[in-house]
Symmetry: none
Subunit: 211 residues, 4 copies
Amino acid sequence: MAKRDIAATPSGDALPREPRTARGRATRRKILDAAAKEFGEKGFHESSIVSITGRAGVALGSFYTYFGSKDELFQALVRDMSGSVRDAVAPVIRDCGPELEREASAFRAFLGFASEHKEIYRIIDEAEFVAPQTWQDHYLTTAARIEARLQEMHAAGNARELGEVEAWAIMGMNVFLGLRFGVMEEGADLDHVADRALALLRDGLRDEQGG
Amino acid sequence: MAKRDIAATPSGDALPREPRTARGRATRRKILDAAAKEFGEKGFHESSIVSITGRAGVALGSFYTYFGSKDELFQALVRDMSGSVRDAVAPVIRDCGPELEREASAFRAFLGFASEHKEIYRIIDEAEFVAPQTWQDHYLTTAARIEARLQEMHAAGNARELGEVEAWAIMGMNVFLGLRFGVMEEGADLDHVADRALALLRDGLRDEQGG
Amino acid sequence: MAKRDIAATPSGDALPREPRTARGRATRRKILDAAAKEFGEKGFHESSIVSITGRAGVALGSFYTYFGSKDELFQALVRDMSGSVRDAVAPVIRDCGPELEREASAFRAFLGFASEHKEIYRIIDEAEFVAPQTWQDHYLTTAARIEARLQEMHAAGNARELGEVEAWAIMGMNVFLGLRFGVMEEGADLDHVADRALALLRDGLRDEQGG
Amino acid sequence: MAKRDIAATPSGDALPREPRTARGRATRRKILDAAAKEFGEKGFHESSIVSITGRAGVALGSFYTYFGSKDELFQALVRDMSGSVRDAVAPVIRDCGPELEREASAFRAFLGFASEHKEIYRIIDEAEFVAPQTWQDHYLTTAARIEARLQEMHAAGNARELGEVEAWAIMGMNVFLGLRFGVMEEGADLDHVADRALALLRDGLRDEQGG
DNA sequence: CATGAATGAGAGTTCATTCAT
DNA sequence: TATGAATGAACTCTCATTCAT
């Protein structure tokens, strides 16, 4: 990743990164917001620090007061967004019991969020190539969360015994349906998509009479 | 001055791109193979033409005898690989009838292929950011192929009515399971993964007694 | 990917091109001066940005802080120099009335300027091939200025009716005499050349008695 | 000029350049013709050997059977064309006596030629930067020819004593008028231009009554 | 003679990062 | 803290020229 290590700090004495004043906090926030737009629109490699600080309305040099590098900014952003996705889905989950319907609700929340924050989608996806560790963290965490829910369902007698494989399968379904109907297509009927996904999870592909 | 048109019409005074001799074909192939390794290992942006031609054992300039640009090479590669994946899965499909088991076999073939050609996986995925059109083509085509199979199953009375949503859901499952157990983890028990995925597709998440 | 628009609108995320500090202005000037020498000596195509910034004593990258491209620099230079030529001739003209002598004085000033700034001569001439529009602008403007003077002379009863053809003819004379005796030959007797040119304009080729 | 002297022949044993068969002569001619078009349209630096040989319908390698380098081709072309211009003007001159009218006829012939062979114009002009020696040769020779005619006129009592200055002045006039009305403008009234140029040479700028 | 694949020096351009003000 | 000029390594792409077939 780090192509230019010309003056990489060999020791651990990081430069000051945490804003110490209100003004500083505001500047940091402006940069983060501008970066979200920029990365979302152009992707990591076509985005540039000049352009980001330009959008943010701050000087180029100010960037390095708050972030150690372009990569570091990107990771910060991915973690931020990973949190946003979780926060969008969490309350929905809290309000449901360990029934299958809960997964459907979570999925509906996710679909809606994805279609309204396409840039977040794109940024997290690109992290696979730009910040693989952060990306793995995001998906492993998310899968673990799904797996936990599945086990609750099993404990409640609402599902058979399910594990990591099913968790990843569901996550993959969600992500690809989000991509296809939330991001690629403008104005798809998300409720319809959610219903069909739910049916798939409930009954599989078989004819209801059994096939 | 004199900028190069991407995808210029093949007429005019453009350089020849199609090799006209056996030696030319061999060189082109060497470059393609080296590029597959390079892109697979380092990703598009960290890969360089110098490094690719270096690996291929040809001169830098030879690259431009056969490819118009780094982008063009990447697209050629993605299309190549899209074809490879299909070719790995196709014979398996041909040998099965329109039963659910066919999907499982296709998935097993895909999983095996992915775990043995991790770089292909990575390259096609990165195309989302580097060559979005080519990437879309790949996934739309693949989804269409799955959808057609699902409809055959329905016609044979082996499944309920299924469409694009289910096709993308299955594709997402496959891709994420491939990523998690074929690429991220070395030596996972792929048969086990395939069995569980099949069960999920067959019966959904419910307890067999119904839940 | 992401090609740079030549002459992009100054809005957007383009890099700043206008120096905002005294230091910036000085750097820009150093580059311009070095470029004048380099282009004058070696011509546009044999000149390189590395070499220009080397002469200027600034880093390669600094060039792109102030100029969008090699072409853009060249055009800026041609316009600068077009102005220099005009400024060298203008005061001489201001001090003369609408007599033929004024053309001779203008020509003398031009000849002197050309022989002392041979590089300017060369640069403007090469613009015909490197920046045709800028070149045309220069010559059309110059011709228009000459034509206006000729019409003043006519109005004052000092010349017959004269137009664009005569203006271009005079300009061609001036340029070629400047080339031959100001640039090609070191130390030619410029006053002598000017006198003969004046005689030609005054009387034509004929014997004074008429031929 | 010669940027790549990697294997410049230090000795004088030039490669075979003169075609020895009819087929060879034809090939050489095809290249020359294609080059004239290419250089005329795109200028020296934007023209390439691949493109020239492409237009000529011969293999790239064949080029070096007949020409030592791109520069050498260009010079050969300039000399060719210098001859063409002369050949277009010469017969006109032969048919006239040493009167002023002869210059006018020569000019008319030149103007017509220029407007019908704009590419020749462009090529000879660019030689100032690409092959300065060849360019000088052309203009010194042409000027000498004009000067000789002027002296004949003087000897015949049709003109005052005239020399190199007047020859270059006339040449400059011709070239710039050719550029302006033969090349820059499509379909200008060349006869009108020639008439006014003749009047200028005959009488100068003055009012006929004397000014 | 003809062919066209191979070569590689060299050019223009980008942009993350540093640092003096 | 904020600023923006300066830096230079690294990259993509061009094309005149060579040479084996």
